[in-house]
Amino acid sequence: MPRELVSIKGTREGLVILLDSTREFEDIKLHLKRKMESSRGFFRGARFAVYGQAITGRQRSELENICRQYGLIPSPEISWPLEKKVEQIKTVLPGEPARLVQGTLRSGQEIRHQGNVVIIGNIHPGARVVATGSVIIMGCCRGTVQAGAEGNTAATITALKLQAACLSIAGITASPAAIPRSSLFPITARLKGGRIIFDSYRHKAIYPAF
């Protein structure tokens, strides 16, 4: 069945204006105007919502303005079940992408990456990680790690264990004496007041105090 450019459905909550967004937006606009014109004020005072896949926010408000001229009242809370499902899939998860490295970095091996890096393994002495974002090491770090390599001062370095590691964030190097030798919990290095400080991951986690 060929879909109409614009179809108007009545629901218990109000009118739902459905668009076939595979068509040209200008055609849709024209068609909507024509529909409103021909209704001769029949829809005046009715509440409505616009539904259509792949229409931008600006296009949506343009269409809503046309309807307003004919006395309709926009109310986006009117639900249309079929279209709503599509909207949910479009939801973007929070967070940033990262490069996952599986395995231990041995002496002489190097990872360079624009962004965050997660390493499942150890970093041995003489190995190096350079990232413009943060670095997470699911293992023992004994090598060189440079986070925020292009000046990102919010970058952090987190490791399960730090041993004689050489760490720097946004070009600021941690003094070797400040690096904690052992901890029961993962350690995070971050910049604070122009210096690298270390805190145990513990206070953020839900471990019971012991």
Binding site: R106, N122, H124, G126
Partner: protein, 264 residues
């Protein structure tokens, strides 16, 4: 079809050549046909350690260059039935052989021998690339020193990058008394850093120096502890389960007495 094993370390002077000679002699003593290849072109030593120096006619570059047949270049060790040496050239350098030539050479050797053991030169340059080109297994030799362990770590990374996975570790020249006093890295420290399987531990032993100078592998010395360590490693290469040798000399009582008398 035999297997090709490369003995490597990164750092020089940790005992690659001594290990190669002893593993070769040990495997031959078990009745296997063994070919030892000296890949250290320009700095050949394996022939000296085996006491075969004055029998060299052709070397590895003569074989790869087509000047002689492989069989002509192989030197038969008269003391061990089945042990052969392919010596390195002394007048050329590492560029005299290419990785492809080494691969072809190893293929030819493995047709005739049960074990082909390659003595790798120190370093990570072309000599190393040549030595590992035809190998299917690797043995990494290290001593309990930070520099040697660091180089071994680098080598393990390079081996893995060349598809030589799961190399085995030999810790050479360990001194149990120094480890006990905390003056030397322990076996556990080294394993913790390198994270690979241990094939064996060879204690520091004067008998190695004596036997090397004489050109007689220490593995045939029944009384020396290093000889025992090499014999154990040989059996492990053959697939036997051999427990690690106790490194401390004497029993608990004598150790206790020595400590009481302040001798150790």
């Amino acid at each position: 079809m035999g297997e090709v094993i490369v003995v490597t370390s990164g750092k020089g002077g940790v005992g690659k050549t001594t290990t190669t000679a002893n593993l070769g002699a040990g495997l031959a003593a078990h009745g296997h046909r063994v070919a030892l290849v000296d890949a250290d072109i320009g700095l050949r030593n394996l022939d000296v350690v085996l006491g075969l120096e004055n029998r060299i006619v052709y070397d590895i570059t003569d074989v790869t260059g087509g000047h002689c047949r492989l069989r002509q270049a192989l030197i038969k060790d008269k003391r061990f039935e089945g042990l052969f040496l392919l010596p390195a050239a002394q007048t050329k350098d590492k560029t005299a052989v290419s990785p492809d030539q080494m691969k072809a050479l190893c293929e030819e050797l493995r047709q005739e021998f049960d074990y082909v053991i390659i003595d790798c030169p120190a370093g990570i340059e072309q000599g190393f690339r040549n030595a590992i080109a035809g190998a299917d297994k690797a043995i990494v030799v290290t001593t309990p020193e930070v520099a040697a362990v660091r180089d071994a770590d680098r080598i393990i990374g390079l081996l893995e990058a060349s598809e030589l996975r799961d190399p085995k570790l030999i810790i050479n020249r360990i001194r149990p008394r120094m480890v006990r006093h905390g003056d030397m890295m322990s076996i556990e420290d080294i394993i913790d850093i390198l994270a690979i399987d241990l094939l064996g531990v060879v204690p520091e032993d004067e008998a190695v120096v004596i036997s090397t100078n004489r050109g007689e592998p220490v593995v045939q010395d029944e009384r020396s502890r290093s000889g025992q360590a090499y014999r154990n490693i040989v059996r492990r290469i053959k697939g036997e389960q051999v427990p690690m040798m106790k490194l401390e000399e004497g029993g608990l009582m004598s150790r206790f007495l020595r400590r009481m008398m302040g001798l150790s």
